[in-house]
Amino acid sequence: MSYLYIDYFEELGLSRFLWLHKGEDTMNVEFQHISKSFGVLRANDDISFKIKAGSIHGLLGENGAGKSTLVKILSGFLFRDRGTILLDGQPVSIRSPWDGIRFGIGMLHQDPLDFPPMTVLDNFMIGKPGWLTRRHQARQQFNYWIHQFNFKLDADELVTDLTVGERQQLEIVRLLSLGVKTLILDEPTTGISAVQKDLLFAAVRQLAQKGQSIIFVSHKLEDVNSLCDRLTVMRQGKIAGHLTTPCQDSAVIQLIFDRELSLPVKSSTRQEETLLELTNIKVQGDRIGLAISHLAISRGEVIGLAGLEGNGQQLLLQMCAGLVKPTKGTILIHHQDLTSRPYKDYLKAGVGYSPADRLGDGLIPGLSIHEHLALRTPSPHWFIHWKHILETTHHIIELFNIRGKPHTKVEHLSGGNQQRTQIALLPIPLNVLLMEHPTRGLDIESGLWIWQQLMSRCEGGTTILFMSSDLDEIMQYSDRVLVFCGGHVSEPIEVTSLTVERLGRLIGGRFENELTTIA
């Protein structure tokens, strides 16, 4: 049905019936021999499979297996080197995300691509065809969609004030209102609450029942197993196999990694000496402030910062890193008062910070791995001894199992390999290591590997503070846990006295004892 007709419906204020009148909602997607290389890296190598209309298709694989590349090719963010994409049996050429949407393919990115300073409704209207904006109709349409899925979104709220989960919901209804028939979800369950996850899954099931096809990219076996009809596992750019759910976790893991995995054993490395001490701290971030009366952390201890995203965990980490200055109070690191000292002094005191936004805050796009290493290596000389740096880089690449060459630019590495690089760049030894989401977006094996590295640092006497939205990760690796909620911080809780349920209650704001009360 043509857009003219759709416009006609909108004119009559019948936009809420649009969905029913847009013709076929179903679409079969087929990949035939898709290949894509980045330099020498083969991200996709002769990928062929079908996704049936009305099904939820899980796409699994470890980091760098080529899942993101494949869905980006389908949605138009990347263009294939070879191969064909068939939609309902017709070969199509999808050259931009806008093309993708015209063909009925929409992608929900790991970090929602929206415009935070604008309102929810403005964001909803972005990308609509036509020159004139019709706010009234758009609002009706918006309300219709959120009602469909029981989403609780306020059309006039600013996107800045939304949680990641709510921004995801906004993006879903926006894509659907543009007539998307195949919805791609890239790691949608990282960083959203359990309630939001249930809502998301319900919405996805509803869409599948109506005949839409869903591609669900994830690392989380339980999510995939409970939601998807069929699974495709990728390994090193190729298809490793297909599975029909329900299936055994071990079968999936076998396909993903080609071997079995075991959890590392966490032994307490906590020592007597106090390494980090915060007293009467007040600190103000962009959206949230924190107050901490007293907090002492020992050498070799691992502290997990739990809580929904944006409740001050990052602020605490950045303050301990010396990137944000407290307005009040003192920070003692290794018996040194660093409160009002510049960031450089924190580095000298052996404080390391590993940000979550790898390409934004941690690494420098345009520079290769070996150039990063040269930047990190202090040297009394003016000129760089490239040969020496190259040797070290080869060594580091092998040691940290980074899939890339010394000359590979960091933006061409997969997320997991970027994280490995970022960790490889942290100096040794460190007194305090501050980590945001150490394993976000990483497959199970990479995650285990990262924690093995972190554990061995603890044995060497490093104290780790890390934030994570993965409760299992917090329970698994922390000695003590701090729970954050709306600018309030709980007392440190011994992890031995915690269960996931109790932690969930605490994150919901039911604290037993607070650190916040300040003289």
């Binding site: 290389s37 450089k344 580095l347 910070y353 934004g360 345009g366 150039e371 000129f383 760089i384």
Partner: protein, 349 residues
Amino acid sequence: MNSLFNQELSHRSSFIGWVAILAALFFTCAIILLSGSSPVAVFHSIIIGAFATPDRFARVFTTLVPLLLCGCGLMFTFTAGLYNLGIEGQIAFGAIAAMVPLQLGQSLPAPFLLLLAIVAGAAGGMLWGLLAGCLNVFGRINEIFAGLGLNFAVDGLALYLVFGPWKRPGVASMSGTEPLPEFLWLPTIGNTDASLISISIAIIALYCTFLILRGSYFGLRLRAVGSNLRASYVLGISSIQQLLSAFAICGGLAGVAGAFQVIGVFHRLIPNISSNLGFLALLVAMLARTKVWVLLPIALFFSVLTVGSLQLPLELSLESSLSGILQGTLVLFILLSRGLNQFFNQRGV
């Protein structure tokens, strides 16, 4: 297989580059035809204008020197992610600063005084560059606007000096201050304008720029800051220091160019002493991108065009600004070809 594919890509990009140059030539030819002249005659006249006599050929090199010096300077600011449009003002302020020892210390030995003028030029340019840098780093003013604003300020200063304190006795005019005594002119080759001293300094600057940007920690840090300010800060690089250094180096080199304009070309201070060579150097640097050595052929080509076109009004009664049109279209078409290339690469066609 893969290297084959890459080869194909680089073949295509050089092909697009050549098409761009041809397109620029066609475009310029069209303009020449429209203005009622023949392209062959124009290009002939430009080549004659640049190479026919030793004097003209030498002038190509006097134009090359400021282009190279400024081009080198701009390599540093481009690397740091900055568009230093204040380069014109930095040349002019360098020229003014070079005038100071020449005005004050005429009793000193000439070689010493000339050296002093070059050093003063470098210091003056550096100061003016740092000023733009401080406005940018501490005042949060975009470096383009800070630079342009300072260009106007230094223009005013030059006019004030030419018509005020340093005016020719009796006749204050746009033609500049009283000419320097001949012993304070930069020694030249024979009777031409070209000076071995200025040319060697420009080549040394080129070589040093190449070394520093390719192999030094400073060059790498500059690239880091230019590519991602936040991450470089987190990695412990002082971005303020890097940005200010880039401004200072660029200003310093431009200041040296300004000093040579005074002691080697005009032998006095005139308004618009930079002759817009700073802006031309911006185009040169834009074309060279990250390849320092490429500055040399491009700057040479641009100086041939600039000097050669001076003959156009005499021989064909055409505007000498025609060379500006050729240079401008060339840069636009080549930048366009890069854009197209990137576009095609992304699409993977």
